[in-house]
């Protein structure tokens, strides 16, 4: 009884906090008085809005998203196979390092690469002043986003590999070891590869900060321009329709694909070691080279450039931005708590429903300015004390990062939970007692991991925060962005360094939790 009621309550929360603001925005823009007679003019408005220029930008954005997802997927697949299934030394250490780039906000990565290769870049000015290098291109956007997002592909595919029945691999080894990877391992992790591509695709097509740094006009930047420069909310919403339609279409395809794959599961508690690939010396050297190259491009160069650019003004910058730092810490910790709690219960109640899980992930496809606008639009019209407070910032985080928390729980939730829960329910009919005494303790690793990862994401969030922040309230990323506009690069680098150190500290905490759980 209580379980059912609580289940409905979670559905209600998800609908109210996540979908209602978005639905309300669309309804209020297109059907101001809930009149459906405007459909014809609405259709004309939509048709009129999409001229050839916009279609070309949309195609370019899709191409960028597609390229990033494929590159990240392939890099992630290779890394996951090497790190999960081979006899390479220091694999755990490499796994630890290779996930960090995903935690560094992509705009920091771009800033550091601009400091290295851009017009005022160290490398170009000092080493090759006459190098005809133009990094302000869609290709650079693809490379930098791939460097940011490959860890998520690696992580998802690794889960697939860990979750794979060891006997299936052993049977393949005994039968035909030469074709094992191609015929057994890759087909079995294909669903995870596709999911990772979907996640990366959705994240890439809604990313606009990195392209704008690199002066590449992408579709979400058009949406942002309609909001920020033209104050044309209606057109911004119309512009965001294709992105949403595309995300729904791709998630629908994935759903149809998964429906036929009863063996696919994203949850894993089965962490047996599977070192079935014995790399020879020269293969090992190649693997080390590949990993070190990736680490250099996604971690070493950015971190070094940020340190160099900070010009020893680290402490001054931290004192200067202490209020923003405290604001960031407050919002990130509250946001991470809220999202972790809702992420847990959402996964708990929806874990058997692939379609709903994909629908929950769909706000990822909505550009952050539209999310911000939907929140302002919704809560401004309500007489609740949310708009103008940090609560609206927290709701923005919730819309952006809830899918990640759900995903973390999917990785941590023990597979044995159904029987464990059933036996607990036989002993005590109290649902909350079962949750509190049985399910929660078994998932404490998932809770800590979700809290820390979401905390890191919230700490670096900029897209929604800058739209919904109350007057006079600045988080650290917003302060960094403001300083960047004023050209104060040493302070930008110093505060970025502070943010990186903070992220790194929490990441170590996460890793310790993860290792202990493993």
């Amino acid at each position: 009884m209580y379980k059912k009621l609580f289940n409905y309550f979670i559905y209600f929360l998800l609908f109210t906090l996540i979908f209602l603001p978005i639905i309300y925005l669309f309804v209020s823009i297109f059907f101001p008085n809930l009149k459906l007679t405007n459909l014809y003019s609405l259709w004309n408005y939509i048709i009129f809005s999409f001229d050839s220029r916009l279609i070309s930008i949309f195609s370019k954005t899709l191409l960028v998203g597609f390229s990033v997802s494929i590159i990240s997927g392939i890099v992630g697949l290779v890394l996951a196979i090497i790190l999960e299934c081979s006899n390479l030394s220091y694999r755990n250490f490499f796994k630890f390092l290779l996930f960090i780039p995903f935690l560094i906000p992509p705009y920091l990565l771009t800033f550091s690469w601009l400091a290295f290769l851009g017009k005022r870049g160290t490398f170009v000015n000092i080493t090759f002043p006459n190098l005809p290098l133009n990094i302000y291109s869609p290709l650079t956007v693809v490379v930098l986003l791939s460097l940011s997002f490959y860890p998520i592909s690696m992580f998802i595919i690794s889960l697939g590999l860990k979750n794979m029945d060891r006997n299936l691999i052993d049977a393949g080894r005994l039968s035909n070891s030469k074709k094992l990877i191609r015929k057994v391992v890759i087909p079995l992790v294909k669903p995870h590869f596709l999911i990772s591509c979907f996640f990366v695709f959705v994240l890439s097509i809604s990313e606009y900060v990195v392209p704008s740094f690199l002066r590449v006009n992408v579709y979400p930047a058009e949406i942002f321009a309609q909001l920020a420069a033209f104050y044309n909310l209606r057109r911004a919403i119309v512009y965001s329709l294709p992105l949403i339609a595309l995300a729904l279409f791709v998630s629908g395809l994935l759903f149809l694909y998964f429906r036929k794959k009863s063996f696919v599961t994203l949850s894993t508690y089965y962490r047996e070691k599977k070192e079935f690939i014995r790399l020879e010396k020269h293969h090992k050297a190649l693997a080390y080279f590949f990993i070190l190259l990736l680490l250099s491009l996604s971690l070493l160069v950015p971190a070094s450039m940020i340190i160099i650019e900070s010009e020893l003004s680290f402490f001054n910058a931290v004192v200067f931005a202490k209020e923003s730092i405290l604001n960031s810490l407050l919002t990130a910790s509250l946001g991470a708590t809220l999202i972790t709690l809702l992420g847990f219960f959402t996964y708990y109640f929806l874990k058997d429903n692939n379609l709903l899980m994909l629908i929950i992930a769909f706000p990822l496809a909505i550009a952050s300015p539209v999310i911000g606008t939907s929140l302002i639009n919704f809560y401004n019209n309500l007489s609740l004390p949310i708009y103008g407070t940090i609560l609206i910032v927290l709701l923005g985080y919730l819309l952006r990062f809830l899918p990640f928390s759900i995903f973390i729980f999917a990785a941590f939730f023990p597979q044995i939970s159904s029987t464990i829960e059933e036996s607990a329910r036989l002993c005590s009919p109290n649902f909350f007692k079962t949750i509190y005494k049985i399910i929660l303790p078994l998932n404490k690793g998932g809770f800590l991991s979700s809290f820390i990862i979401i905390f890191i994401f919230c700490l670096g969030e900029i897209g929604v925060t800058q739209m919904v922040s109350p007057p006079g309230f600045q988080t650290l990323p917003i302060r960094i962005e403001t300083l960047m506009h004023y050209g104060n690069y040493s302070y930008v680098a110093s505060l970025s360094l502070f943010l990186l150190l903070f992220i790194f500290f929490f990441y170590i905490l996460y890793w310790l939790v993860y290792r202990k759980h493993e």
Partner: protein, 234 residues
């Protein structure tokens, strides 16, 4: 008959607990050898050690007179030419019956692949299920596919890890007959792990009983289990 499998002082620990403590065993070519014991006594671990899927902490394994596992030597499982039927059968969910056999046979032969697949399908009576995936097969058909995969491996050593445990009485009988027929026809050496006395009596002509990580008894199953059988008859 020659010794085809020889184990010397095999030791294995899991999480500090010794599962196998000094197992010595010789299995002759063409034998149907059973490993019997209670759950968790290390039967499957021993089988996996023979296949090379698990490394012992100490001891030696010889296959066909060659040392394949010791402190210095470790021949990987793919180079041991062993057929293994897993307890859960380990059929690849994404592959059809044909693809299962093709995967194994393509490693063994280059020509007449189609003919060879048909030959194996006839033996396991799955000719009408060429394009079926494991989830479309019944329990017995799945079992036969696992046996067919092992036949396609063309090995003289079959390791079977409680392969009939999930089947009903009639299917068990059918599979036992099939396995015995194949053993005779191809002069296979079978190492059969089970915890069901009657299954092991029907399938094996010599067995080893593992207790507390050691072989406590070895011999003909009917002689070893004489008392138990008598009790059941009474």
């Amino acid at each position: 008959m020659n010794e085809i499998i020889k184990l010397e002082s095999i030791r294995k620990r899991f999480n500090g607990k010794e599962v196998l403590s000094g197992i010595n065993l010789k299995i002759k070519s063409g034998e149907r050898f059973g490993i019997f014991g209670p759950s968790g006594c290390g039967k499957t671990t021993l089988l996996r050690i023979i296949a090379g899927l698990e490394k012992p902490d100490d001891g030696r394994v010889y296959l066909r007179g060659k040392e394949v596992t010791s402190n210095k030597i470790f021949v990987p499982p793919e180079k041991r030419n062993i057929s293994f039927i897993f307890q859960d059968l380990a059929l690849w969910p994404h592959m059809s019956v044909k693809e299962h056999l093709e995967f194994v046979l393509s490693n063994k032969i280059r020509k007449n692949l189609k003919k060879e697949i048909e030959r194996v399908l006839k033996i396991i009576k799955l000719t009408g299920h060429l394009n079926s995936k494991p989830e479309e097969l019944s329990g017995g058909e799945k079992q036969r596919l696992a046996i067919g995969r092992a036949i396609a491996q063309r090995s003289d050593i079959f390791l079977l890890d409680e392969p009939l445990s999930s089947l009903d009485f009639f299917l068990k009988k059918e599979m036992k007959n099939l396995l015995l027929k194949l053993q005779k026809r191809y002069k296979l050496t079978i190492v059969y792990v089970a915890h069901d006395i009657f299954e092991i009596i029907d399938m094996c002509n010599r067995i080893a009983v593992i207790e507390n990580g050691k072989i406590s008894k070895i011999g003909h199953p009917r002689k070893l289990f004489k008392n138990q059988i008598m009790n059941l008859k009474v």
